[in-house]
Symmetry: C2
Subunit: 605 residues, 2 copies
């Protein structure tokens, strides 16, 4: 696997045998990018061939995979939402604060793009939730509807649904066709969010909610110990290439502001942060020295840069901290432990809780979503589902109501480490106490015993909670608990989580989700090897694994594979069987006439 890590990074990339396809909405500037994979023909025994329709996939990779666009990361992406934001006439330009007015300059070079900053006009709320509640269908909502449907026609979706297993949606209500009005109504109800800061017009709108496709977040970010700005930008582009629906920049080291600026200007997906990390840097890393004022300024600084959602640990209340005293692993959330330390040092209630309404005022002036942090999530199987965790969750539900009173979009973070049989309760408690606001969980890890494989321990938990209704899964990489993920770790984490999310979509019965599986299986049964590679979540690795045992080009049209060899190939035998089956009905008629009980016995037994 080392080879991909060592490759020179190129921000532009074409998925094999794929084109970027744009579906245009009700206006010409609503252009929703998708990936379309060309498939080869089905070859018949008689020498004729039938073409296979290309397969469309939901695509998070943005302009980087459009061969007609040459992206220079020093200039940033085009602002596809700029016109929509301007038209609403509810924002105004604002000068960035002095500290940010200087030219953004990173160690690695200079950002050359224009940086403009908006905020809501006085008294205006620019959140998608506010518009939704006014009955306004924004271009962002329409974009999301087209994207969730893969731009398929109603008829195409209906026939896909007829070809797939009905789901078991655990109370989710997923319509066959996602309409812009459905998107609006889900956002209005608080059951879904569209993270879309007015200062991040580069992002392609996407939606997080349990009645939509399950989404995946990738954490990137440097630390004091390692990593650099260009590494992090590279990881962001890389993450979107492998399917990250959002990314979180969790940088804690030097150049925290500059790193984020580069990421924001180049990110086609929403970006989340934990503002507390930067606030802590500002007070020299000493939790006790944090103040509301420092924190508030940090929120505004990041709001101006365009961060789409903030993790805010407002539920870590002073009274809950003693509940962690008998835990095996205490408090494992960085933000949670910082706030707990602050609370104890001052013996005061968490200032994020006491200033929550002031935070709401900031959020709605930029349309930033709350990602209400679970600072007391369990850090081990032993600590799962304890009172500290659920006490905080109930507080997050209380805060959700306050955020909604301010028309601020909100979702809720969840654990962590939870054995399989205790996962469902997490989802139920969250639905009950947080009023169906979307849930966003880290894993959960279903055992503690496999460091270096926690993308798998947690992929199991992620698939389960996604099925139960979790709207977005925060990935875990193989480096969890051990070190900082490199590019290969980011990829491994994302693939495990795309599997988990897709498995969840199938289990929920998401309309047309099974199209991808069916296309792969048809290619398998017909020995269309190239199509199998191209349809795979990781085409290059699939091809490489195949070529390890059967490297020759001729093998890619072989009607068997190296697992079994030609004589033992079940799929080859199946084709022979099918050819015989054509004559079987006739034969079985003949046998019945002759009084054979062969079929009758077997079928009735």
């Amino acid at each position: 696997m080392a080879d991909t890590t060592q490759n020179e990074f190129n921000p532009s990339y074409q998925y094999p045998s794929s084109d970027k396809l744009y579906i245009t909405g009700s206006r010409s500037d609503i252009r929703v990018g998708m990936r379309e994979i060309s498939l080869s023909d089905t070859q018949h025994a008689d020498g004729t061939a039938t073409p296979n329709a290309p397969l469309r996939l939901y695509d998070t990779s943005g302009p980087y995979t459009d061969q007609h666009i040459d992206v220079a990361v020093t200039g940033g992406l085009a602002g596809i939402r700029t016109a929509w934001i301007e038209e609403r006439e509810d924002t105004e330009f604002t000068d960035r604060r002095p500290v940010r007015q200087k030219r953004i300059q990173a160690k690695e070079g200079q950002f050359k793009g224009d940086i403009v900053t908006r905020k809501a006009k006085p008294g205006r709320n620019v959140s998608q939730l506010w518009y939704a509640r006014q009955g306004i269908i924004t271009p962002e909502m329409e974009f999301v509807a087209i994207r969730e449907n893969l731009g398929l026609s109603d008829q195409e979706i209906q026939s896909a649904v007829a070809e797939q297993h009905p789901g078991q949606p655990y109370g989710a209500r997923i319509p066959e066709i996602i309409t812009p009005e459905f998107v609006r109504s889900e956002v209005a109800a608080g059951r879904a969010v569209i993270p879309a800061n007015i200062n991040h017009p580069e992002a392609e709108p996407m939606i997080i909610g349990r009645n939509f496709r399950v989404k995946v977040n990738a954490n990137i970010g440097n630390s004091a110990v390692s990593s650099s700005i260009s590494d992090e930008v590279e990881k962001m582009v890389w993450a979107t290439r492998w399917g990250a629906d959002t990314i979180m920049d969790l940088s804690t080291g030097k150049n925290i502001h500059e790193t984020r600026e580069w990421i924001m200007r180049n990110s086609p997906v929403p970006v989340g942060t934990v503002p507390l990390y930067q606030a802590l840097e500002k007070v020299g890393g000493i939790a006790e020295n944090l103040t509301w004022e420092v924190y508030r300024d940090t929120l505004i600084e990041q709001a101006e840069q365009g961060v789409d959602y903030f993790t805010i640990h407002a539920g870590v209340r002073l009274a809950y901290i003693p509940m962690t005293a008998n835990r095996l692993t205490g408090i494992v959330s960085r933000g949670g432990s910082i706030m707990a330390k602050w609370c104890l040092a001052h013996h005061k209630e968490n200032f994020l809780y006491t200033h929550f309404e002031e935070i709401c005022e900031i959020m709605k002036a930029y349309d930033i979503c709350f990602s209400l942090g679970d600072g007391l999530r369990p850090g081990s199987i032993a600590d799962a589902n304890d009172e500290a965790q659920f006490a905080e969750l109930r507080t997050l539900g209380e805060l959700t109501k306050i955020a909604w009173e301010h028309d601020v979009q909100t979702f809720i973070e969840g654990p962590g480490h939870v054995p399989m049989h205790l996962i469902e309760r997490n989802m139920q408690e969250q639905l009950t106490h947080c009023h169906e606001a979307p849930f966003y969980t880290l894993g959960p890890l279903t055992t503690d015993i496999a460091p270096a494989y926690d993308h798998i321990t947690s992929g199991i938990g992620a698939a389960l909670i996604g099925w139960y209704g979790c709207a977005m899964l925060c990935y875990v990489t193989p480096k969890e608990h051990l070190g900082l993920p490199n590019k290969e770790d980011v990829k491994q984490g994302l693939i495990a989580y795309k599997i988990a999310a897709h498995a969840a979509d199938l289990a929920k019965g998401h309309p047309a989700a099974q199209l991808h599986d069916n296309a792969m299986s048809a290619a398998r049964f017909e020995f269309r090897w190239e199509d199998q590679f191209n349809l795979a979540l990781d085409p290059e690795t699939a091809r490489r694994y195949h070529d390890e045992t059967m490297p020759r080009e001729g093998h890619k049209v072989a009607h068997f594979c190296s697992m079994c060899g030609p004589k033992f190939c079940s799929m080859k035998l199946s084709h022979d069987i099918r050819n015989r089956e054509a004559g079987m009905e006739e034969m079985s008629e003949k046998f019945r006439e002759e009084g054979s009980q062969l079929y009758v016995d077997a079928v009735s037994s």
Copy 2:
């Protein structure tokens, strides 16, 4: 990951900081090997230290990880069960058939060990099921009981149970303490099997049943296209090192008999095969030319070599074959497709079905378990849970009853490709129709879209079905659908499946299962890095990942890790918080006296 693959193979190996510990049973030759991991002391702030008890793990690796035993694969392992088999006085020596009397000679060298062959005396049944039903507790059963308990005392188990989450066992009835009598009663009821051919005395007894730890099987075996004998022996030893509870030799190439002999004589775990593969080789790979006689001779040949369980596709009845006609991927079981082809060619009922009682006679003369094959399992998400699959399953249930009339141990194979929400029904149908005989499934894969990562797509399904009651999980490697697994693939498959099996044990609430997780989490919270590596399923990779960012030895005693750096380390902060909490109760008393509502409000909200 490439480095481990390229290492020279050494059959002997010591797990880091681990010793082989033997627990002796009621007689001195019942010696159950376990792995015991030494842990370092807990260091306290005042400079004192508390020792941590070593952790015991279930150990499948046999004598290869005993530093006092030097295994030469050319001589084979000692027969730890030989005396037990002899004492029962129900077997006699038998000359192997002429074809096998010649010295076993492989391309790579000559097997130097003695090869003796036994079979039951005329009229005797030597199966563990027969003994169990006579009320006999065999040494094998006692061995299994000690092994499942990890040789822990009743008190140690009870206190471990008090420290873990109660499970959700889906109808499994797992006692806290596994007694030899419980093992006997489960075997007698058919709810568990102990695969233990009298000609494989080298194997350490183990049990497969839903009231015991979930087990994992690893498939190895060469094919016509690739692989060699020494590769396969190496893979077998390698597989047991990474936790394979049984292995299946699925060789289909040349030297099929010799490969198996080498594997049998060196395998510390039970070995399964699909005898049909060798039978097909004998008729030149032409399914139509198979006969009952060729097949029967193959069964006896493999029985004499010591194969512990046979996959037999007796449920692929002629009448079910047309049910596969409209499937997306037809018949994907090799054995199933071969038998289907035979049935159609002759338009006759499957000869494995019509000769089933004769097969039972062979099985009980050697104590071979039936692994009733699911020849019609689904090969794609689309084909999951269809009528072909369940029709065959009902037939397998009917055959189970016949096998049990002959006191032949039996378990049932299951799918395959199944989306998450359709997995539970597989388990329910199997329990209902197969009368609680153990279930043994391949995965199932929960999506079709990730070739090269099917250890993950299927690890999700395996964890789920293990939780629901599946007794043994057949691993899937990253090479599934693409090529023949190499050593690294075997390892990746096993680790994913050990995770799935352990996640299932935790979810079922298996007594003392959480000891391992708790030991890891305690080591994590106390920054005992060396212990974290040693407790990991894959110590070397965990250490390597850590060292990638923090290579220096000093970092292995650091009170933080590279994920966050020292200022942002939640665990470090948690320790600070704990130190403060000691004084918190006092402070909160003081606040309450002063009329502060801080705690009261938060706790009641």
